[in-house]
Amino acid sequence: MELFNLNIGCSCGSRVVVSRSFADFTPQATFDIKKCDVHRLEEGPPVKATLTRDQGLQYYRIMQTVRRMELKADQLYKQKIIRGFCHLYDGQEACAAGIEAAINPSDHLITAYRAHGYTYTRGVAIKEILAELTGRKGGVAKGKGGSMHMYAPHFYGGNGIVGAQVPLGAGIALACQYQGNNQVCVTLYGDGAANQGQLFEAFNMAALWKLPCIFICENNKYGMGTSVERASASTDYYKRGDFIPGLRVDGMDVLCVREATQFAADHCRSGKGPIVMELQTYRYHGHSMSDPGVSYRTREEIQEVRSKSDPISLLKDRMLSNNMAAVEEFKEIDIAIRKEVEEAAQYATSDPEPPLEELCNHIFKNDPPLEVRGTHPWATLKSVS
């Protein structure tokens, strides 16, 4: 039996503890969710989603963590502690959280460069993500990869070349099929990448060979500074797989994303072949930290999404209006997350840079040490696997 304890500290050092019992909260509720548009499917995912209190708090925690982590990255970038490319995910949290809620850790996921959210949901600690962004040896890739090249078991990055991750994802799905392990591969790309030829090559082979691949287009309406209408002759990204069935999903609603991903995973696991999902979502930041994000869209548009469709607010409001949690609980979670992110940022700014002796390591796997040519003939550097 779970007791929720409200701790109120007062200046005299003593504490008043107020307990509200578990029975005060609704343990579970069912919500209406937006119906998905379907392509080549008799029916789509359910239009109702059940959410338990625990799930709700978990999704909230995950989304808020990603939100705070990205905002911290913004801050560190402006302080010039993070350099190079930094593509932030705030606004799109429901996609990463909803997808992870519907798949298993043993499933696979690959995405493009706007990858920090997925790096977290796939199991990498915040401090290892931030330390990778700040280029320190405690980073998940020891500072060698940076923002776009972070990896974890069953998470294949972080890929810098637009569209290249899509055939890779189909190949991971091929490996799942080959090994007969009933796993699926979630392969993400953006509305900009959706026009790449290699996607259609991947769609063709995935459909031909019935690969267990969930192709997911995160349509945030802008490919860098180009709106979808200016880039795509057809903006029905869920139909672009042509012979592959598709779903168009409200990407700002974590429950909608979860139900759709569950539906898609079931489809793949039953041997029906690939499926395409379009998640309609939005990014608050510009394309990257060097893009203010207001030359090709209005501040009003950004503000409207924030006030009407913010994924974290949507979930929180749902839970509060159904008495699934208390306002104070969310506040406590927020405080805990801020603390965690702050500590991670501390780590990321104080951890040492990678040692120069390791410059040339990791060229090859399982190879004897080799000599690497340096900047001039007298600089012979060493590489170990």
């Binding site: 294949y156 290249a164 189909a170 190949g171 991971i172 090994q179 060979w209 060229i363 796997k365």
Partner: protein
């Protein structure tokens, strides 16, 4: 022959490790565009020998993804000219990933197919990619000459946990070679990164790879009649280059001639010359090194033009004599 050796290598490795599979255009039911994979589909079936549509960027990406997820693909390019469409997947997705991930993600894949000039196939189908792939850290680049090289190096490449670009030559496929007793073994491998001295000599070091090893040996036979003894080094591997072998030889012969089919600018020979300049062998050179290369033009079609676009034995003989100042 060379082709059978490749077939044998793949057959043995497919049998040895169930994670190994072959994909590419016409590799299965057609038995291979150049018949290199003949019989393999019949033996191993659809799961292990996969015919792809004509979509290099897509299927190369798929092969690389499969390697990332635990399989050991052999990705065939019908010729390396077509690999240009997929080169982003070879370099950015395969070669660089182990480094970018600081060792978290490896890519055990072999990219193989015919490279360089064929006969009468003209400019778009005749390019040599040894220099392009040889340029990139994270890749191993192999260029076998004879059947034994083909078998031993392909087996090593398949067993290697890293991306290997395996450059064959269409004109060598049908050439018969004797294979040693040792090479009949199912565990016969040749180490990647080690060159082989095919012919001992004292007057000049010839460094070459692939088909031109034959040319150099033929030139050496002619030169021997005039009392010039050539040492012929078969590179076997383009990257990493066996510089020690080259230097040891040059320090003995005092003369260096490189021979390749590719274009001269920024080519394999250019790299060899630069490396020799930077090392101990430079002080042993009695003359500047000479590069014998393909002519710096897109490959023409007409036979007389094509023949004169590539190093001929007479060009090698001429270059050796010039280098020796005889």
């Amino acid at each position: 022959g060379f082709r059978d050796a490749l077939n044998q290598a793949m057959d043995e490795e497919l049998e040895r490790d169930e994670r190994v599979f072959l994909l590419g255009e016409e590799v299965a039911q057609y038995d291979g565009a150049y018949k290199v994979s003949r019989g393999l589909w019949k033996k191993y079936g659809d799961k292990r020998i996969i015919d792809t549509p004509i979509t290099e960027m897509g299927f190369t990406g798929i092969a690389v993804g499969a390697a990332m997820a635990g399989l050991r693909p052999i990705c065939e390019f019908m010729t390396f000219n077509f690999s240009m469409q997929a080169i982003d997947q070879v370099i950015n997705s395969a070669a660089k990933t182990y480094y970018m991930s600081a060792g978290l993600q490896s890519v055990p894949i072999v990219f193989r197919g015919p490279n360089g000039a064929s006969a009468g196939v003209a400019a778009q189908h005749s390019q040599c990619f040894a220099a392009w792939y040889g340029h990139c850290p994270g890749l191993k680049v192999v260029s076998p000459w004879n059947a034994e090289d083909a078998k031993g190096l392909l087996k090593s490449a398949i067993r290697d946990d890293n991306p290997v670009v395996f450059l064959e030559n269409e004109l060598m496929y049908g050439v018969p070679f004797e294979m040693s007793e040792e090479s009949q073994s199912k565990d016969f491998t040749i180490p990647i990164g080690k060159a082989k001295v095919e012919r001992q000599g004292t007057h000049v070091t010839m460094v070459t790879h692939s088909r031109y090893v034959s040319h150099c040996l033929d030139a050496a036979a002619v030169l021997a009649k005039e009392g010039i003894e050539c040492e012929v080094i078969n590179l076997r591997t383009i990257r990493p280059l066996d510089v020690d072998c080259i230097e040891t030889s040059v320090m003995k012969t005092n003369h260096l001639v490189t021979v390749e089919g590719g274009w001269p600018q920024f080519g394999v020979g250019a790299e060899i010359c630069a490396r020799v300049m930077e090392g101990p062998a430079f002080n042993y050179l009695d003359a500047p090194a000479t590069r014998v290369t393909g002519v710096d033009i897109p490959m023409p079609y007409a036979k007389i033009l094509e023949d004169n676009s590539l190093p001929q034995i007479k060009d090698i003989i001429f270059s050796v004599k010039k280098t020796l100042n005889v």
